[in-house]
Symmetry: C2
Subunit: 252 residues, 2 copies
């Protein structure tokens, strides 16, 4: 929902390949393909079929082919996709070849964990700065980084060319932090605080609300329970739209 509509821009320069405007749903799956491809690359595979990659990524093979076709023709009929070529292409599209600098605001329980999350570093991101407003936390060393006061954000963001900010504060201060990030030139925000952020239209926001995920699961629990508890009839006809993903996951 934090998505915005982007008009296709015909403006084609010469050097760099034009930027295909991919469906939002496709973009959201590319990282998953990328992870699966890296895994395949480690096992020594040089090529992979759409069927194989789709299984590793947990999606339908037709969907995967359509997704990849939006990037251009990087497969060979009768053979499959060149793993390393596809990795490079997806990483380019996602802008991961720039090893993006990320800052994190709010070094509480969750922020602390995020600051040390290995998954960020291993997938193209560098957490280069931590911020908080609590005097007791400012100055603290976390994972080799010193926690700075939020007031220093603008200066440091400029020095480090930070374009992505992560908000891990309590809900009450999230909007204030978002404003500060925007003022500092940050144009992409990952928000872990519950609530709606108001930002200029040129800033992208993605929200992760951990409790919401549990609540959605809770709904399904409730639904399942009410079905099995039904006295007459349609109890057995459960699971109308389940995920049919029953295939090999990443083994090991």
């Amino acid at each position: 929902m934090s998505q915005q509509r982007h008009g296709s821009t015909p403006g084609e320069a010469g050097g760099v390949p034009a930027f295909p405007d991919l469906p939002e749903a496709t973009i959201a799956r590319l990282p998953e393909y990328l992870r699966a491809l890296h895994h395949l690359a480690e096992t020594g595979a040089e090529t992979v079929s759409s069927e194989g990659l789709a299984a590793a990524a947990g999606v339908n093979s037709a969907k995967l082919r359509k997704d990849l076709s939006h990037l251009g023709s990087y497969g060979t009929r009768g053979v499959g996709y060149d793993v390393s070529l596809l990795v490079a292409q997806i990483e380019y599209i996602l802008g991961l070849d720039e090893n993006r600098a990320v800052c994190l605001v709010g070094v509480g329980n969750l922020g602390h964990a995020l600051a040390g999350y290995a998954g960020f570093a291993s997938r193209g991101f560098r957490v280069v700065a931590l911020f908080d407003t609590d005097p007791k936390k400012v100055g603290e060393q976390i994972n080799g980084l010193t926690v700075r006061h939020l007031d220093d954000l603008e200066r440091i963001a400029a020095e480090e060319s930070i374009a992505i900010g992560v908000i891990a504060t309590p809900p009450g201060t999230a909007q204030t932090v978002a404003d500060a990030l925007v003022a500092a030139g940050v144009t992409s925000i990952l928000n872990f605080a519950p609530g709606v952020l108001s930002v200029p239209s040129n800033v992208d926001v993605r929200k992760v609300d951990l409790a919401i995920e549990l609540q959605i699961l809770s709904f399904h629990e409730h639904r399942k329970a009410s079905l099995t508890a039904l006295p007459g009839g349609r109890a057995a006809a459960a699971s109308p739209d389940k995920q049919p993903e029953d295939q090999e996951a990443v083994g090991s």
Copy 2:
């Protein structure tokens, strides 16, 4: 706070089946509505219009009305929705009135933070058990809970009626943990480990991959950068910027 006039309380309804099968997209938004409603209730509002609630939840008002209409008719034309009634109804639908027990597997960096995440407790969930396989972690006290060995999962899950499990382990062990959870009778899994899980069709899985969120933001950064690099000042002047959408949401 006093909502008793509605004879068909949750649980049993005459006109509408006790459990309407809601569109998946609607379900995903209900928690957001619920949060906004709680916020409104704290400010003392007794009723709210679809316009007002939609703004607070960051969605289109027509969408909100359609979503709520799926639950039944809980609004009054010309007036709006009764806040406390709607809260009760959504909480019932989401199954939050049962204060669900949740267990968490993997007490690493992230798991540690999740174990102490206040947002869970305040929104209808109790983290009742922590598990790990690392002998150095088993026995540790976190947030008033003792970390148990994964081998004890089946027994404790039964004792505590745990239906929801959270996986916060490294990717390599996620599938093993998922299998253990399923064996212990858990039917809903929230997975923070990258990768695809394979589970029986009666088990629901939701995945949260923090790195993927950043990668999606990175894509938009890349796209924005390639646009501003375009020749011609149209980008700033003619401003083909997105639809105004509904900024200015959370009325401060």
